[in-house]
Amino acid sequence: MMRLTTKQITLLVLALLIAATPFFFPSAYYFRVGSLLFVNGVAVVGIVILTGFAGQISLGHAGFAGIGAYASALAPVHLGLHPAFAAVLGAALSALIAYVVGRPILRLKGYYLAVASLGFGILVSMVLSNEAWLTGGPDGIAVADLGLRQALGALGLKLSAPEFWYFFCGLCLLVGAWLALNLFDSPTGRALRALHGSEIAASTVGVDVPRLKLQAFVISAVYASASGSLLALQNKFITPDVAGYMHSIEMVTMAVLGGAGSVLGAILGAGILTLLPQVLTVFAEYEQVMLGLVMMLVMIFLREGLLPSLLRQFTGRGA
């Protein structure tokens, strides 16, 4: 039998899940939840590159999601750009800011890096809330329509809005996961994993540690930005909460919960944390208690995250 690589398995499983689960959806609401899951998944794949591959922490990636989201909202109005190009502009802007901020920040390690990045994220959300003349302030701002659904409709492919966003975000996640998995197997990916293991050992074999950390940071910022743009375009409305502290924490928690070292695991984590509040709507009061409890229990008992720990149980080896 032909042996499949982790990359092929991951992409196959993802594609199958995205394509097959709609057959079991009893209502349009599930398409909406699914597309939110994929939006979170895109951001979380970025965290996998930064945390899972390169071993760096960021508690400020929601800041980049905020930049992506607000670029999609503001560039069409003020620069006359098409929303799709606005999202690209947001990604470029996020990359540039990540490059400038990342150079000094990534010299730090552990808690210091965590708090410095957290500070960055909070500064971004503060600017988004306070500069109401530009961003609409805490009340949020409307976002122009992407127009792709109408274009598809004109070509004869008629989808409802939730259906369209479900498949579009799913496709984006699939592409994002494919790129991340390619990175994992590339020389850069190997170098990132080497510096995760030991920065000193990696630098003695010729890995340019600061440059690679910065690359991982910039790439993951682009993922976060894309996720923010997708959210803004889908909701046609955005508030500064997208850049908030809790959103950053959620991104990291999703990744670490499912297994930050594995793309599929991290997406599983995104799935659990996206679905949990939906399942618990009856117990909305208990949402925070449950979230806190899940975060603690998984980190104490399944340190590598759900998927890698479960695979180890079944196969007796790591994934």
Binding site: Y111, A116, L123, M126, A260, Q288, M290, G292, M295
Partner: protein
């Protein structure tokens, strides 16, 4: 410059609270190398439990003591149930555990109590006292005195008592401390109890001025962390000075630049300190062996 004096006084009050939170951080960080993101919840619990005990008819001092004892017990439970079992886990895991704990505590507080803002009366009235053409609330003096007393108390504890020295020994080298017969588990319990109690005390002292609600912990934890970093992580003197400096920076920014960006000061301070002098004002240079 009565304005400047006014800003300095309010900065000193807020700074004293940050200093107390930073001292709490420092104690846990020294004992266990964990940065406890749930530190702010201790302050919140101190205020909330006092409010509800007081409203239930208990006298204020008794309510405050109950709040401090209960919070200390929660601190011990946090160590026993969440941080202890994860000993040796990577920093990311520990960050998520303590953030998880803070979300959990917030969630439970909101269920047990409610989501409203609360306060109880100031200890010695609300009549402002005039100092050099500026005014200060009597409760602010309580807060500042509280920070000073806690600092002096900790200093005496760590330098003059055998137990305090055992804590220092454990933070220096856990294994060596165990070898000379120090019960490091007990040291850990003590550190978390002490740290939580100090946080709760800060909550009790400041609630009559700033009010309290279930969700105020996170912001306080971040400010306290900024203060601890400014002073130099793990150094009690640094925590005190860092807290007061941060409070002053904030008050001056709010007064002279922009009250909207007052909360940004803490993070700009963190970033500036990290880039210019990562060891903080009083931190030691550390050398890592490979």
């Amino acid at each position: 410059m009565p304005e400047l004096m006014q800003f300095l006084l309010s900065g000193l009050t807020v700074g004293a609270v940050y200093a107390l939170v930073a001292l709490g951080f420092t104690i846990i960080y020294n004992a266990s190398d964990v940065v406890n993101f749930a530190q702010g919840e201790f302050v919140m619990l101190g205020g909330m439990i006092t409010v509800f005990a007081f409203d239930a008819g208990l006298p204020l001092p008794l309510a405050a003591v109950i709040a401090i004892v209960v919070t200390a017990a929660i601190g011990v439970a946090l160590n026993r149930l969440a941080i202890g079992p994860a000993r040796g886990a990577p920093v990311v895991s520990l960050i998520i555990i303590t953030i998880g704990a803070s979300i959990f505590i917030r969630g439970v507080t909101q269920l047990v109590f409610d989501k409203q803002l609360h306060r109880f009366p100031a200890f010695t009235g609300d009549e402002p006292i005039e100092i050099l053409a500026a005014t200060i609330l009597p409760q602010s003096l309580w807060v500042i005195a509280g920070a000073v007393v806690v600092f002096v108390g900790l200093w005496l504890f760590f330098t003059r008592t055998l137990t305090g020295k055992a804590v220092l020994a454990t933070s220096d080298n856990r294994l060596a401390a165990q070898l000379v017969g120090i019960n490091t588990n007990w040291v850990m319990t003590l550190s978390f109890a002490l740290s939580a109690a100090i946080g709760a005390l800060a909550g009790v002292l400041v609630t009559p001025i700033t009010l309290t609600s279930y969700d105020l912990g996170i912001a306080l934890a971040l400010k306290g962390f900024a203060a601890a970093m400014l002073g130099g992580m793990g150094n009690p003197k640094g925590a005190l000075v860092g807290g007061i400096l941060l409070g002053l920076f904030e008050a001056l920014t709010a007064g002279f630049i922009s009250s909207q960006y007052k909360d940004a000061v803490a993070f700009i301070v963190i970033l500036a300190v990290l880039f210019a002098m990562p060891q903080g004002l009083f931190g030691r240079n550390s050398v890592n062996r490979v």
